[in-house]
Amino acid sequence: MRVVKFVAGRFAGMVVVLLIVSFITFLVFYVLPSEPAQLACGRPCSPQALELAREFMGYNVPWYQQYFDFLGGIFTGRTFGSGPSAIHCPAPCFGYDFQNNAEVLDQILDRVEVSFSVAIGAAIIWMVAGVGLGVLSALKRGTPLDRITMAVAMAGVSMPAYLAGMLGITIFAFGLDVVPKNGYVPIGEDVVQWAWHLVTPWLVLAFLHAAIYARLTRGQMLETLGEDFIRTARAKGLTERRVVGRHALRNVLLPVVTVFGVDLGLLLAGTVITERIFSMPGVGMLLVDSIRSLNLPILLGVTLFAALLVTVVNFLVDLFYGVLDPRARLT
């Protein structure tokens, strides 16, 4: 019952966040001096034709009405125009992109696989590498290994994503010519090629992020190793491997998981820069393109999608946190 209540509460919170995000996005883009109907107007575009296009696309009503139309579309779907040539956008309709003649949701879903492939693969690498190196540094504190790891980590933290990305592409794809230069192969088509095409972005992203995790893990590990319960575990006669690998690590992972949730949420939402550098046609790329062409329906959709992902991932992280930490569990 409490779990249901908790989930319901979190869900309500999520909805409110999404409403606010959508509203603000809507408002900001509404005040932009843009003419979204222009593109559906054709060339030459007379004022009369423009007005027709506006009417068809639903831009001829006041902004708040447009916003409510948008919200309503999520639950009931929308229809643009009338008669046999009307465009139907079935519920949940997150808007219709007239520039590309496609439902916004479809466009996002088309791109999701790419974003998820990049994000999840990189996340696994950086978690393993970052946490592993962090633990190692903490255990070998003060040794050259620790110093080198932390220096590299510092470099990783300080490296702008696009620089690291460019260097990665240049070195691996063009310099050494060991990995493919272009594109994305759907996982359903060929798993090996899929992974092979993603290696560079994975490694570069992992390098940037692993740094933060290595530092975080190291600090947490040093702190945790000073805790009383570690002393207890040692006094029980456990092997050092078990003391560190079980007792310390589980506690170290708690803050790491929280940071991971935020990072993954943002990354999944299509870290714009990452996808731009690696020419990955993911959600982030969609966002950049829609910003450049001021494609309001897509912008609104992607913004909502990003906010949804961040909130959902955070929610999942909270649940997972409960698994890791019984104190956070609902009893």
Binding site: G42, L50, S85, S293
Partner: protein
């Protein structure tokens, strides 16, 4: 704007404007072996889709749409020659009567759709009627205000009304009764909306993904954002089609490709990429790279000419309302620096422009009313400004440019030139829609100068002059961004438009060119060259004098 990949007109079509100093081979084509029928052609596009709905397309005759759709007329394009109009579905290029107010076309015999049904004149009419439906707007619309009742007609789908200004007395004949005389109607008949759509079909919004084909290819598979596969249309008869050799067996579009990735694949030229053609222009950075690669350099095709890049002066604003001040601007720009900033050097960028009508259009005359060095003459500008009562130059002008691609850099170059001539400007880069809203639609827009470019949709000086300088095109989405209003010019434009005889019309347009330049509403900069890169197995990649786009119809695979 590249998203919709309109390969035509619009002020600033130039996506990645560039050119190539193809000094070692004739401009407009590249070498290569013999092209034979067969093979697969890959088209690499940075756009997520290709519009195959004729009503919504703004595709030129030579590019993507032609694979699937034929129109009433077509263009004959060859490097080094002026582009001429030729029949496509029609037996001739139209018979004008009634002083250019009535145009009659007759369809060829034996024309069939991909489903085997015959193509009738009513289908062409239906296709045009369909383009009036609000759901299918967005394509080239030159026909709309010439066919009464114009935009009050809402298409055939609701209420089933027909367009009375088009008559189809039999299955072969189609007669257009225009609202006013229009000499270029045969050119207009080559725009996408003149492709036939089987009467009664095409009501659905996604008709463009599975249209009924009249051209040499039909769509086998269409996946937006990924790819489209075109295969041969068995009912297309090459004998009725003089402009389409249709060499490849299959044409595959690869959508949503990144431009730099396209360029890298083509430079590498391996596997299927040998059969590939990049549909975007090579950027200056890519050009610099291609210059250093002999193989890639041999596969680069550059146009002779292209879109007119120009600096528009807001003739209705402040000091710029004074024609003497505007004339001072003609000497201020360092067009050499602009060429380098555009593409690295003059050969790559395109020739310095002094006229409004671009090379390759009938009737064009080369002249220069404001002779100076390519580097410009800032002192002369200062003198002229002094003479106009501004010894200290001008300050605080707003220069609007596009935010996309290389425009900001080119705007910076202009800014530098003007600064040297004592004119201080602030750059305001705007993205496409904001540009439209701010510059083309506002009543009193806040800008003094606009850096942009223009490529006509049809190879007629009409399409070069009228949209940019007729007073009716000020505001309301029109392209007269210089806000140039000269009743004399307006009158002459209407006259020239109504002239049916091409030679006579050409003379009138050339006169208009000089007359307008004398008022100095714009500073012509360069005729922007476009460069394409293709794989080594793609042959017959040619660019005519007009348009500055590769002629997709000729492409074939070298076997």
């Amino acid at each position: 704007m590249k998203r919709r990949h309109s390969l035509a007109g619009i002020a600033a079509v130039a996506v990645l404007l560039a050119a190539c100093g193809a000094n070692d081979k004739p401009a407009g084509q590249s070498g290569g072996g013999q092209v034979k029928a067969g093979g697969t052609l890959y088209l690499l596009s940075d756009s997520p889709t290709q519009q195959y709905d004729p009503a919504r397309s703004s595709s030129l005759v030579v590019t993507g749409l032609q694979f699937v759709h034929r129109r009433l007329t077509s263009w004959k394009v060859a490097p080094g020659q002026d582009t001429t109009i030729v029949p496509d579905l029609a037996t001739d290029t139209g018979k004008p009567s009634d002083g250019g107010k009535t145009w009659t076309f007759t369809l060829k015999d034996g024309l069939k759709y991909s489903d085997g049904t015959p193509i009738r004149s009513a289908d062409v009419k239906w296709g045009l009627e369909r383009s009036f439906a609000p759901a299918f707007s967005g394509g080239l619309a030159y026909h709309k205000d010439l066919l009464s009742p114009g935009l009050t007609y809402k298409g055939p789908f609701e209420g089933g009304q027909e367009l009375s200004s088009i008559e189809t007395p039999d299955d072969k004949t189609i007669i257009f009764k225009l609202a006013r005389p229009y000499g270029d109607w045969n050119w207009v008949a080559s725009t996408p909306a003149f492709a036939p759509v089987p009467k009664g079909k095409g009501a659905e919004a996604n008709y463009g993904e599975k249209p009924v084909a009249s051209g040499p290819y039909q769509i086998e598979k269409f996946e937006r954002g990924k790819e489209a596969v075109l295969v041969r249309n068995p009912n297309w008869d090459g004998k009725t089609d003089e402009t389409r050799p249709a060499f490849p067996d299959r044409v595959v579009w690869q959508f949503s490709q990144q431009t730099n990735v396209i360029s890298k694949r083509l430079i590498d030229d391996t596997g299927d990429d040998k059969n590939a053609f990049g549909t975007s222009f090579a950027s200056p950075a890519q050009l610099a790279q291609i210059q250093g690669n002999a193989s890639a350099k041999s596969r680069l095709v550059t146009s002779e000419s292209g879109a007119l890049a120009y600096l528009a002066l807001n003739t209705q604003r402040g000091k710029l309302a004074d024609v003497n001040v505007r004339k001072a601007f003609q000497y201020a720009i360092n067009k050499s620096a602009y060429q380098v900033a555009s593409a690295g050097n003059a050969q790559l960028a395109g020739d310095v422009a002094t006229t409004l009508i671009t090379p390759g259009l009938a009737g064009r005359e080369q002249f220069d009313l404001y002779q100076t060095k390519p580097e410009g003459d800032p002192n002369k500008t200062k003198e002229l400004l002094s003479a106009a009562g501004m010894p200290n130059g001008l300050d605080g002008l707003v220069l609007v440019s596009r935010a996309e691609n290389d425009w900001p850099r080119k705007a910076e170059s202009i800014q530098s030139s003007l600064a040297a001539a004592g004119i201080k400007v602030t750059i305001k880069p705007l993205d496409e829609e904001t540009f439209t809203a701010e510059v083309q639609n506002k009543e009193n827009p806040d800008y003094d100068l606009v850096l942009t470019s223009w490529q006509p949709d049809i190879p007629s000086a009409n399409a070069n002059i009228q949209p940019l300088f007729q007073s009716t095109e000020i505001g309301g989405g029109g392209y007269n961004v210089a806000r140039y209003n000269n009743p004399d010019v307006d009158r002459l434009i209407t006259e020239a438009q109504a002239t049916v005889d091409p030679a006579e019309a050409g003379k009138k347009w050339a006169e208009l060119d000089k007359k307008i330049m004398a008022d100095s509403p714009v500073v012509p900069l360069i005729y922007t060259r476009n460069s394409y890169l293709h794989g080594s197995a793609v042959g017959n990649v040619k660019i005519g004098r007009f348009p500055a786009y590769a002629d997709y119809r000729q492409f074939g695979i070298i076997q």
